[in-house]
């Protein structure tokens, strides 16, 4: 009992303010405005519209992404200006309104899509409902589909995307900062983060890098990514690109920064670790051990996609003696009629695979299926019967391809398949030795890579045992008491004895 009391009072600064933080409104508009500005941390999507009614200065305040423009015009601004009377209750036609003197109501109302009307010289103010219920024909991003969970996807309109975020995090500490980049296109960028949670150095660093962009045009978030990422020559993507609001929200609450761009449904999350690419929002939707197994399978898929063809090449061309006799006979008999060395076989198959993938992307669904049939069945069987590629190699390449597509992030799956090629070369020249050195170099690179000051391969290198439980596996949510420390958030705890009821029950 005592614990819960203490909790209610000591809300963390980044969390939604509780009623204890209520504050009487001021008499002047200026003071009220300053207070709100401070409460929203000067977030740039908080908009003000001064109007005058009977020559008294008034001010409309609202969070732009959450408010429906039509409603604002038709039910609030238009009636106020046409009637020009201070009988606000009779003028405004909004379906819901509230009169209050407590600025706490204003803050919480604004985050829920209310419009606030301040009147000069009056302590009380009005809140009108103008929530934008308009949701477009929401479709699920095709490259990040889930079985269970939200099927909402970001759209091309940045304001609508911010609205989706604001609806998910109804918190005045969610700060939006707008930037204009591109000297010719003047593209609108926005970064979003939770004030008081995100490491302030990180915010400064991101702002600094975005401000230093000097280019004619920014057409996709990919441009921004290449301008601000730490290691432009690394094969690994260093920012997570997602079109899922739930994924972005989850990362914001871990203390990361999101970047949205006008005209693009994909958003960037920074800084991320390697394992963020292997997480799917779905993991948290299924039972924890299912989520854990899925994660483990994905980590295994990384190892397969990276090393399986090279391991096979090294084994058959250098060290067949590693395998037991029965297996060697099988493999060698399938290799017998193939005129090419295993390396060439692997290259042929990998290139065919990439060609098929590339061709299928560009074509509409039904025709893409045809490609699949031609590629999978016709080329697959014919190439073996023509003795160009061995059966074993088909199996290996197929397994590699499937493994690489199991990664929930498209760029990562591409990166890994491409990294496979130099590894294949190395193992075709030096066998196991080459493979070990190749993998070591990849590992050294992963250990050394840092994005925005966070180690990329955390929590494996540097090793943090405590954080493996939400990266390699996913333990129940109530065991994940702390946020990942790689981003150095200002507050580590994210969960406070949610299963405390269990204790009370036992008494």
């Amino acid at each position: 009992m005592r614990r819960s009391n203490r909790k209610a009072k000591r809300n963390k600064p980044y969390q939604i303010p509780t009623t204890t933080e209520s504050h009487d409104a001021f008499f002047t508009i200026e003071e009220n405005k300053d207070y709100l500005k401070a409460q929203f941390h000067h977030s740039e999507d908080l908009k003000y519209r001064p109007i005058s009614i009977q020559d008294i200065g008034c001010l409309l305040v609202y969070l732009d992404p959450l408010v429906d423009e039509d409603k604002l015009q038709q039910t609030i601004i238009k009636p106020l200006l046409t009637k020009d009377e201070l009988k606000i209750e009779d003028t405004v036609t909004a379906k819901e309104f509230q009169r209050s003197m407590n600025l706490y109501d204003a803050v919480s109302g604004l985050t829920k899509g209310f419009v606030m009307l301040l009147i000069e010289g009056q302590q009380y103010f009005y809140l009108f409902e103008a929530f934008s219920a308009r949701s477009r024909a929401v479709s699920e991003p095709v490259n990040e589909q889930v079985v269970r969970g939200s099927h909402e996807g970001f759209v091309e309109n940045i304001i609508q995307n911010l609205q989706m975020l604001r609806r998910r995090i109804e918190n005045p500490n969610l700060v939006v900062r707008f930037f204009k980049v591109g000297k010719t296109t003047d593209t609108k960028l926005a970064i979003v983060y939770l004030q008081h949670l995100v490491n302030p150095d990180l915010i400064d660093e991101v702002e600094k890098r975005i401000k230093s962009i000097k280019a004619d045009s920014i057409q996709t978030p990919g441009y921004v990514e290449e301008f601000i990422e730490d290691a432009p020559f690394s094969p690994f993507p260093q920012m997570l690109s997602t079109e899922r609001p739930d994924r972005l929200t989850a990362h914001l609450i871990e203390g990361r920064i999101g970047l949205l761009m006008e005209g693009s449904p994909s958003t960037l999350i920074m800084p991320v670790t390697f394992f963020a690419f292997y997480q799917s929002p779905e993991d948290y939707n299924s039972r924890w051990y299912i989520g854990s197994i899925l994660r483990l399978i994905r980590v295994a898929s990384f190892i397969f996609a990276l090393g399986l063809p090279s391991l096979y090449i090294a084994t058959v061309s250098f060290h067949p003696e590693v395998l037991p006799a029965e297996l060697i006979l099988n493999i060698k008999s399938s290799l017998e009629n193939v005129p090419f060395p295993p390396l060439l076989e692997a290259f042929i198959m990998q290139i065919i695979l990439e060609l098929l993938r590339e061709a299928a992307i560009r074509l509409p669904g039904p025709i893409a299926q045809t490609i699949g049939i031609v590629g999978g069945l016709v080329i697959g069987t014919a190439i073996v019967e023509a003795n160009l590629v061995s059966n074993m190699m088909i199996i290996v390449v197929a397994l590699t391809a499937i493994s690489s597509f199991a990664v929930p992030s498209y760029e990562m799956s591409m990166s890994i398949r491409l990294l496979g090629f130099p590894l294949m070369l190395l193992s075709a020249t030096f066998g196991f030795i080459g493979l070990v050195f190749g993998l070591s170099i990849v590992l050294i690179h992963l250990c050394g890579l840092e994005t925005f000051g966070t180690p990329y391969f955390s929590p494996l290198a540097p090793f943090r045992l405590n954080e493996l439980k939400d990266s390699i596996v996913r333990l129940p949510r109530w065991l994940l008491g702390k946020r990942p420390s790689d981003v150095r958030p200002q507050y580590e705890r994210q969960e406070w004895f949610s299963r405390g009821w269990k204790k009370n029950e036992d008494d």
């Binding site: 150095d201 660093e205 730490d230 060290h319 003696e321 590693v322 395998l323 037991p324 006799a325 297996l327 020249t429 030096f430 066998g431 196991f432 030795i433 080459g434 493979l435 070990v436 050195f437 070591s440 170099i441 590992l443 050294i444 690179h445 250990c447 050394g448 840092e450 925005f452 000051g453 180690p455 391969f457 494996l460 290198a461 540097p462 090793f463």
Partner: protein
Amino acid sequence: MKTTNEINGSQLFFIIFQTQVGVGVLSLPYSLYAKAGADGWITLLITGVAIQLIIFMLYFLSQRFPTLTLYEYAPKIVGKYVAFVISILYIAFAIATAVIVLELFETTIKTWILFRTPMLAILLLLTVSGCYLALGKIKVMGRFYQFVSILILPLVIMAAYTLKDADIRYILPIGQSGVGTILKATQQGIVSMLGFEIVLFVYPYVQNKGKSALKSLTLANIAVTSLYTFLTFATYVFFSPVQLQMIPEPIVYMLKGVSFVIVDRVDLLFLSIWIVSVMTSYVSYLYIAGRGIQHITKRKKATWPILIAAIIALTFSMFSHDRYTVEMISGYHAKASYFFALGFPLILLCFSLIFKKKEEL
């Protein structure tokens, strides 16, 4: 974005551990057997105690200058010119060690895996990947060493698997060679367990200095001693005394006879994993040499110094070498290493105690 270049206690542990475990592990049981007979594994335990004493000494020296490496505090103790000579000697020693690692690596690979591959290709593999690691900062080395230490586990499991064919009578009666011989063979043990002297060069980067660093050092020593003792013990109970006299790399031979369900040649797997340990030792010495060259040439970045050290090591290791020349060079190197792991640090510690030289904090 600038980040600190620090290593935590466990990374210090793994840096020491991985630097110590290296090329020597393959031939250690053989060379120990030549000196101490079937009691060689007891020798290793005693060596562990001896090394612990040296570690205390190195720790006290480092603790007197907690934010400086040996290259930086040597001038404060013995003056500019002597310190310069000592730095040069340390650089030469580190490069020589790197050369020996390269040569032993090359001969082993040539004997066991790649018989016809040109020497340069094999040496280049190790040099290139080693340079890439050494060029990262010390924290990258720490992370990498920590991560690859998981590979020690399969090594131990493979060796433990052979115990099913062990015959304990091979090492009985314990103590048959007599206390004198066992103690004398300690020399052999110390040489193969060298590597702890890297603490003189990484100590300033340790996050929590003092007691917790000493704890990491001690744990690393315990880990290395037990690993070596276990591997040596495993070979001694696997091979008969007559066999042991003839087999120069008993661990690999021992694993050659073992087969798991889908792996017929366990020794190849063992060697593939062993390569990583070789690489880490090599990188550590490259780092020591590179930092030394960086210090005496007063460069800001360690990139070129490390590359230069690597090129020198590569050139020297290119000279033709058969097993006997390598053994001869290692013999000289072993004698010299006493000075570098024990002699010089001890002298520096004494001088700094006598003249009350200490880093002002």
